[in-house]
């Protein structure tokens, strides 16, 4: 009793550190049949773009050992339709809504960001920078630190609400974390899915029509843990861990290394009640270890600890 699960990210208060990850939580409303989503700390909504996207041709998903490759093509209804059809219901739900958004040019990012910034139900914005930049010959924004700085600072100038940046694992996470924070990011989500591929050797064809997809699920968790650690060691801005969280302990790993909160993604597909179970697991963990708040565990593994020993 008396456990305090709340955390704060850049001035925004969260009931608990459990945030539903973008792309795995729809527009937030799809979970209403399963649980009261106001129980979640926050919900990062399906990535939106100004005009929306029809998505890629199927097949779009392929399951791998403890993982899932997907290439949905950022299918979304577009920001106007979101504000018209979804936002009115979200305005009545008491949790933090983070609007994930993307573009293929810097101007598309800022335009999308400004539209979402003005919507009442949006508490913070999360930039997906793992998109090809059409103006720069298709190179991903997220893998090139100067480009990260450029697109983040352009959005920062245009947007008033807290701005999060979801980093690509295909980058040197220290460099892109630095670039995003220098560009004005209030928080970093670490990491997006890992580019992956699978082949059907019997049919001799790609498992996914788009060929390349993003790998998620428990398989990527240890990679995410390492990258969260590196980001936390590099920048002072709050980090939100993301990648393969299935149970409370997976999120706690991120937090012990310095993350302020964490996101739950692929776990929602196999278990739509995962957020509720994870929140219960967090309470049990605090009790088990005699902590009274989540804040006590943030970065605990690094507090007062030296570097790993070696024999040289």
């Amino acid at each position: 009793m008396g456990l305090d699960l709340s955390v704060e990210i850049g001035g925004l208060k969260f009931k608990n550190p459990v945030i539903l990850a973008s792309g795995c939580a729809g527009y937030g409303l799809e979970f209403e049949d399963f649980f009261d989503i106001s129980l979640a700390g926050g919900v990062s909504l399906k990535g939106l773009s100004v005009k929306g996207s029809g998505g890629t041709h199927p097949p779009r998903i392929w399951e791998t050992p403890a993982g899932l490759i997907n290439a949905i093509g950022l299918q979304n209804i577009g920001i106007d339709a979101f504000i018209r059809d979804k936002a009115p219901r979200l305005r009545k739900i008491d949790t933090v809504f983070i609007a994930n958004f993307y573009g293929h040019r810097i101007e598309e990012y800022t335009e999308a960001g400004v539209m979402l910034d003005q919507e009442e139900c949006v508490d913070a914005l999360e930039m997906n920078i793992s998109c090809p930049n059409i103006s720069e010959g298709g190179i991903q924004f997220g893998v090139n630190p100067p480009l990260v700085y450029k697109v983040v600072s352009a959005c920062r100038k245009a947007i008033k609400k807290p701005l999060w940046v979801k980093l690509s694992p295909s980058s040197d996470i220290r460099e892109t974390a630095k670039a995003a924070v220098e560009g004005g990011a209030d928080a970093l989500t670490v990491i997006n899915t890992i580019p992956a591929m699978a082949v059907d050797v019997e049919k001799i064809e790609f498992r996914i029509h788009n060929r390349v997809g993003g790998l998620s699920g428990p398989a990527i968790h240890p990679i995410a843990v390492r990258m969260v650690n590196d980001a936390c060691q590099t920048v002072k801005a709050p980090v939100i861990g993301c990648g393969g969280v299935e149970k409370a302990e997976d999120g706690i790993e991120f937090m012990l290394l310095g993350a302020t909160a964490f996101q739950v993604g692929t776990a929602l597909f196999r278990n739509p009640l995962a957020p509720v179970e994870i929140i219960e697991g967090l309470e049990k963990y605090l009790e088990r270890h005699g902590f009274s708040s989540m804040n006590e565990i943030i970065g605990k593994l690094h507090n007062g600890n030296d570097k790993p020993r070696s024999c040289s």
């Binding site: 939580a25 049949d33 029809g54 041709h57 199927p58 299918q75 597909f269």
Partner: protein, 256 residues
């Protein structure tokens, strides 16, 4: 729909198939709907499997699964007393309410497309509508629910690719002439079969197909199970087989 823990009441395997009956608290379903099913097997496989309902009564819901990979194999290996996580019932259903007494109804089921059509037959027979049931299979060992269909007084017309039972050939060989006379066609089976059937359906017959697609969630959030569907506004869009489907009007499906 909801997430619930059901208990295996009975389970049996035959050949490449497994049939299991689950009991517990669940919401009533309609024919054509499915569940996302998963046993207590950790991260391998990671995802639940979408399985169409074969039949249900007040206390149990039954499924017939063909073993095609690790997930389906594990599903069929459950024993009485084991528990299974079930999310559902999911998706839309065959519009059986629109069928009137006296209508000529044709079912076309290939392989594991048969169980949901069996469930649909039960609902129609309850209303004294006797469908014509065509069943296509690779060989006699792949013919499903024959006794159960007969118990409904539905005598299936069989085709097998190897000629080991019924007419030798494809299901379209036995269904072809009947499609033109039907008021309703309900089909479920492999994509190749559905494409072939769609070519035989004209505008006068109301034809509904149940589609199968890889799914991660089953309730509309992953957008993994997309299928191109022609909409009334003339546009083709990717619909979700799990929410807008799995049953679609045959003429609206974009095959490729």
């Amino acid at each position: 729909m909801k997430k619930t823990l059901l208990r295996v009441r009975e389970s049996r395997q035959f050949g490449d198939y497994g049939l299991f009956r689950l009991e517990g608290e669940f919401e009533p379903s309609m024919p054509g709907q499915f569940y996302m099913l998963k046993g207590d097997w950790g991260y391998t496989p990671l995802l639940a499997r979408p399985i169409s309902i074969m039949t249900e009564d007040r206390h149990t819901v039954s499924f017939l699964v063909k073993i095609v990979g690790e997930g389906s194999r594990k599903l069929t290996e459950v024993n009485a007393g084991d528990s299974m996580t079930a999310v559902g019932p999911l998706g839309n259903h065959f519009p059986f309410e629109e069928v009137k007494k006296g209508d000529n109804v044709l079912m076309i089921g290939g392989g594991v497309g048969v169980p949901p059509l069996y469930y649909l037959s039960e609902k129609l027979v309850e209303r004294e509508i006797l469908p014509v049931f065509c069943q296509g299979a690779r060989s006699r060992n792949d013919i499903l629910l024959l006794e159960e269909l007969r118990a409904l007084s539905v005598e299936p017309l069989i085709s097998t690719e190897d000629g080991s039972s019924g007419t030798k050939g494809l299901i379209t060989d036995i269904a072809k002439e009947r499609i033109g006379k039907a008021d309703f066609v309900f089909a479920c089976g492999p994509k190749g079969m559905l494409v072939a059937v769609s070519k035989l359906v004209d505008g006068k017959t109301r034809a509904y197909f149940s589609l199968e697609e890889r799914m991660a969630c089953g309730f509309g959030i992953c957008l993994g199970c997309a299928c191109g569907i022609k909409h009334d506004d003339g546009e083709t869009r990717y619909d979700r087989v799990c929410v807008e489907g799995p049953i679609f009007e045959a003429g609206k499906i974009v095959w490729d």
